[in-house]
């Protein structure tokens, strides 16, 4: 059904949340053959021991010390690990796809400003941002790919059509109010992420100063007012962007902008005020999938446009984006391994 060769793949950090998603996607991907998944803490355990949805997968975790030689290495490790081990990763694989923030920004200065500097700044110019909707043309043949931040991805996807169509220039005040699920924090987690404390919350966890602002600024050329709330779901990131274009825009303009940017995108849906129960983007409508939903509404009272954007943080916001980019990089069917359309009804995935 899907054309193309088969590539061997390794997942470093396979016992983590996004690592598990990578394994799920690659396991059923027609062009990939997973030959290694690493974990230090779960060495020798089966993949299914940690990820109950993968009990059928015949693979055991091995140490990241001993990397197999593969076509593609996916790294799903915490911030800072890849920048230290990038040489080993590149020795082991022709293509490295990194899910952390380590190769997303273009310059050492940005890492100095937003993170604690960078150990391997020489690679920053060589890496490609994974999100095909904004960087497809540079992905074919790329050998170092940096998968985007989940909240940054949601925000960029929501706002991009307004920049593409010239409704925003970058000088405007933009407020981005994000709501995210608990899987954003990864498999670790302290007191605040225990079930009794984390259930039922609307908790400002990054009131200001979130690092994803750096990615948004890099790609949209605008500095945003960014606030993230944790809400009671496991999967999902929903960004509401409140923008005030200088010139008046109509709903027709907005539809034109969004269809202009995304009509040919296989994973983008524009959902803006139709009928039924699901009238605007909703994270649960895309849970488990690589789809991104974007939509908008006009405020009759002032010039505000409200933009809604919803993704699964671990899919479009991370592992799905990584596989999507790898598909484009390797030249296989772009949607391969990413066909799952999600569930309805579904609770709080």
């Amino acid at each position: 059904m899907t054309a193309g060769e088969t590539y061997t793949a390794a997942v470093v950090g396979g016992s983590g949340f996004t690592g598990g998603e990578l394994l799920r996607l690659l396991y059923q991907h027609p062009n990939f053959d997973v030959v290694q998944a690493t974990s230090r803490s779960k060495e020798r355990k089966t993949v299914g021991h940690v990820h109950p949805n993968l009990r059928e997968m015949d693979l055991r975790f091995t140490s990241p010390e001993d990397l197999h030689s593969v076509d593609v290495l996916f790294a799903a490790t915490p911030h800072g690990v890849s920048m230290q081990q990038i040489d080993e990763f590149r020795d082991a694989a022709d293509t490295v796809v990194d899910l952390s923030a380590d190769f997303r920004l273009n310059s050492e200065e940005q890492y100095d400003e937003w993170y604690d500097g960078h150990d391997c700044p020489e690679y920053l110019k060589k890496s490609e941002y994974a999100l095909p909707e904004i960087n497809r043309e540079n992905l074919p043949g790329a050998d170092l790919i940096a998968s985007g931040g989940c909240n940054a991805t949601a925000t960029i996807l929501g706002l991009k059509p307004l920049f593409d169509a010239g409704h925003l220039s970058g000088d405007e005040q933009i407020v981005v109010d994000v709501k995210v699920g608990s899987s954003e924090g990864g498999a670790g987690g302290g007191d605040a992420s225990s079930h009794p404390e984390r259930s039922g919350i609307v908790r400002p966890y990054a009131p200001t100063g979130h690092r994803h602002e750096a990615e948004i600024e890099q790609f949209l050329g605008v500095s945003v007012s960014f606030t993230v709330h944790a809400v009671d779901m496991v999967r999902g990131a929903s960004a509401t962007c409140h923008v005030f274009p200088d010139a008046p825009v109509s709903k027709g303009d907005l539809w034109k902008a969004y269809r202009g940017s995304y009509a040919d995108e296989p994973f983008m849906r524009t959902v803006a005020g139709g009928g039924g129960v699901y009238r605007y983007p909703e994270p649960k409508a895309v849970a488990g999938t690589n789809y991104g939903e974007v939509g908008f509404e006009l405020d009759p009272g002032n010039r505000r446009v409200v933009v809604f954007s919803a993704i699964d943080n671990m899919m479009k916001g991370s592992a799905g984006q990584a596989v999507h980019a790898a598909n484009v990089a390797l030249g296989v069917e772009e949607t391969a391994g990413l066909e799952f359309t999600g569930l309805h009804p579904v609770g709080a995935p």
Binding site: F17, G185, Y205, A206, R211
Partner: protein
Amino acid sequence: MAETITAEDPLTGEEIELPADVEVGEIVDSPATGAELEVVSLDPVTLEEAPELEEDWGE
């Protein structure tokens, strides 16, 4: 009950009571704001807002 001394809350400007034996580097919390304050010097006791533990939320 232990002896206490007072210091100024760097956020609200109000007086805070502290145990007399506080040490530099100790973290106390402001009764008004609940914020964590670090004792940065003694004699007189000076407090600053303590750097918050950054939680990494999987960026």
